[in-house]
Symmetry: C2
């Protein structure tokens, strides 16, 4: 038995963690664009990175270090330090070398424009402004935002049956370039649970599959996707089941928040696929739906165009049959196993479901027991506006 109690302190919820955000002049108008996460005690690290072959310099820098502990993560927005070759790596070394001596084995994480050298001097100067005694999780969460329209944070105190407790807290950024195979997203999670590195890594990977990897904004996968989980074991307590439940809940929340904040998105849609040949095929279908431009534009138009959903199911590659498929918008069934009963009344009902900011589209393939849930959004004019002119 355990209880998850939501707390407000984001990435500083866990004992002994500090965080803040400052402005390094990378964003315009003195907006915060650099953040740190710091622990006095050294931390074990679990991590999941992009599968993009053009992985950015910070990711290659991290991986080159092999197995290590750290107590400091430096994060900047506005520049991804991607496609910057060896220079990108040595820029990171130079920056990290200037940090205070209490910092040990620091790592860096970046997000922003690809293919431009990182403004090293600005970052070095601004890192001197960090006050490592600050607990300003919201400032940190704000600093790592790029095209995000709101910051994303979530934290729990996990109360165990024996009266002991530990914390997990997180911040994330991500709005566009979010894809089922990770996302243009950064997520930093801290915990004071006394969890081993290997267990933490296994749980993090499992949770990623059904949270960040189930979220899609535009089907693109970035060079910088990073999920990092730091544990300083300060609570001296742990329970695997409670830890996994809390971590999954936090990551699911953040994944859905990223989709809700999808560039120009007005709707958060949950695709609930059931009855597939197996879970893998359900996943293929759910992700095909969340990535389909025709489905996404129909959502934007609040048009219950179930034919596009059926067509996308059929095009996904998964086993599917017209006479076994059932499609519903929330509890409004619009197509059932070959029966055509979609009339004006039903269309009005389905359209009213679609006016909601968040709803579920269910597809039962009627074949076997495979299930998967994916999260997607609509695509409207605003997405085009944001992305046609991102760099300038």
């Amino acid at each position: 038995m355990y209880k998850l109690v939501e707390v407000k302190s984001g990435v500083c919820a866990a004992e002994g963690f500090f965080a803040d955000g400052v402005s390094a002049g990378l964003k315009s108008g003195n907006a915060k664009d650099m953040a740190f996460v710091y622990s006095q005690e050294m931390c074990e690290i679990a991590s999941v990175f992009t599968t993009n072959k053009m992985a950015a310099a910070p990711i290659r820098h991290f991986k080159a270090k092999g197995n290590f502990q750290t107590n400091f993560v430096l994060i900047n927005s506005k520049n991804a330090n991607a496609m910057t070759g060896k220079a990108g790596i040595s820029d990171i070394d130079e920056i990290l070398a200037t940090l205070p001596t209490c910092v040990s084995n620091p790592v860096m994480s970046s997000t922003g424009v690809i293919g431009v050298r990182i403004p090293k001097e600005k970052i070095i100067q601004s890192a001197k402004l960090f006050d490592l005694s600050q607990c300003e999780p919201h400032a940190a969460a704000t600093a790592i935002m790029t095209t995000d329209s709101f910051s994303k944070e979530k934290a729990f105190r996990v109360e165990l049956a024996d009266g002991s407790s530990f914390h997990i807290g997180a911040m994330a950024k991500g709005a566009g370039m979010i894809n089922p195979a990770m996302a243009t997203m950064l997520c930093f999670i801290t915990t004071d649970a006394k969890v081993s590195k290997s267990e933490m890594q296994a749980i993090l990977e499992r949770a990623t599959l059904t949270t960040f990897n189930a979220a899609s904004v535009d089907g693109d996968t970035s060079t910088n996707d990073t999920v990092m989980l730091l544990s300083n074991a300060q609570s001296d307590t742990y329970n695997a089941e409670a830890f996994e439940a809390a971590l999954h809940e936090i990551m699911r929340f953040l994944a859905r928040e990223m989709v809700r904040d999808g560039e120009g998105a007005t709707k958060l849609v949950t695709y609930n696929v059931t009855g597939a040949k197996d879970d893998a095929e359900a996943e293929i279908v759910a992700k095909a739906l969340s990535n389909s431009l025709l489905v996404k534009t129909a959502l934007y138009g609040e048009d219950p165009n179930w034919g596009r959903i059926a067509s996308t199911v059929g095009a996904s590659g998964a086993e599917a049959y017209e006479e076994k498929l059932t499609i519903s918008f929330e509890d409004v069934c619009v197509y059932k196993k070959g029966e055509l009963f979609f009339d004006a009344t039903m269309e009005a009902k389905a359209a009213s479901v679609m006016k909601k900011g968040s709803f579920t589209i269910s597809c039962d393939l009627g074949i076997a027991d495979g299930v998967f849930e994916a999260y997607g959004c609509d695509l409207g004019y605003k997405y085009v506006e944001i992305n046609a002119d991102y760099r300038t």
Copy 2:
């Protein structure tokens, strides 16, 4: 030796073929929405259909007939007759049973909205208006359009060294839902070449791979995609090399026309991928580029954001290395094997390439000899406008 001479008569270019379009009241304002292609002589048929598991009734109807010859194809727009189950099939039988007695083994092809029974009576009444002696290829090509903004036709007289000649002519429709695995497209090709069914089928399949299957507007694959090639052998002559060259040229032209007419598209972009591990990997990369929303919106914004191209190459799954990749906009190289030299001057040059209505983006992966060329377009406000409200 052979010579391809372009002729204007589209799907009627080949000897003994007739075609026309009429209005059945499916589209508003008496616009043409039904077409036929007819030959007095029976024809061998080669065909390629969608891989969508929800293949529409006309495709299932065609396939159920097995091996057969025909002299008549009936085509309607505005209703796809897809997701209509057994009723959709029997509707086709009823419609085809009403055709004149000179018609033998007729087939039907449909495009339009999914999930609505076909307006059988309207179609039967209007088919009575067909005058099978008409050669109005442009009327036919116009009648099969849906969201197309212009009709697509192409025909050649193929002149052989011995003085004999044959013809190949075609019409196609397609603008949205165009995808590398076929497209929401119909294409009808007629020829008077004396070609065997099996050879015609093999050549058609080969040509599809590098033409219609290399074209992408929005990455969705439809329920109705059909390419049909009819030969009535009236010319009594044939040359395999010339036939394949002419067919490929026609299909490549039509594929590019469909992309150029992509819903809301303002640019036709050729993605020329070279240096991949093999042709299959080059194809993966080229199609990933033509389908990437971030690339497509950057094209629309005329923003030479090569970082998004690099990221998409990296995310495609194909083998790729930052230090081996080279990216060019026409002859303006913007990134070369790890070198960052993209400055304001270069950006201005690349941006001026992007102002053109049609241009090439080249990616050399620098690994081996794999090549593929794909065709894509940009994505702008107009795409959203067209697709958010298609049915109403």
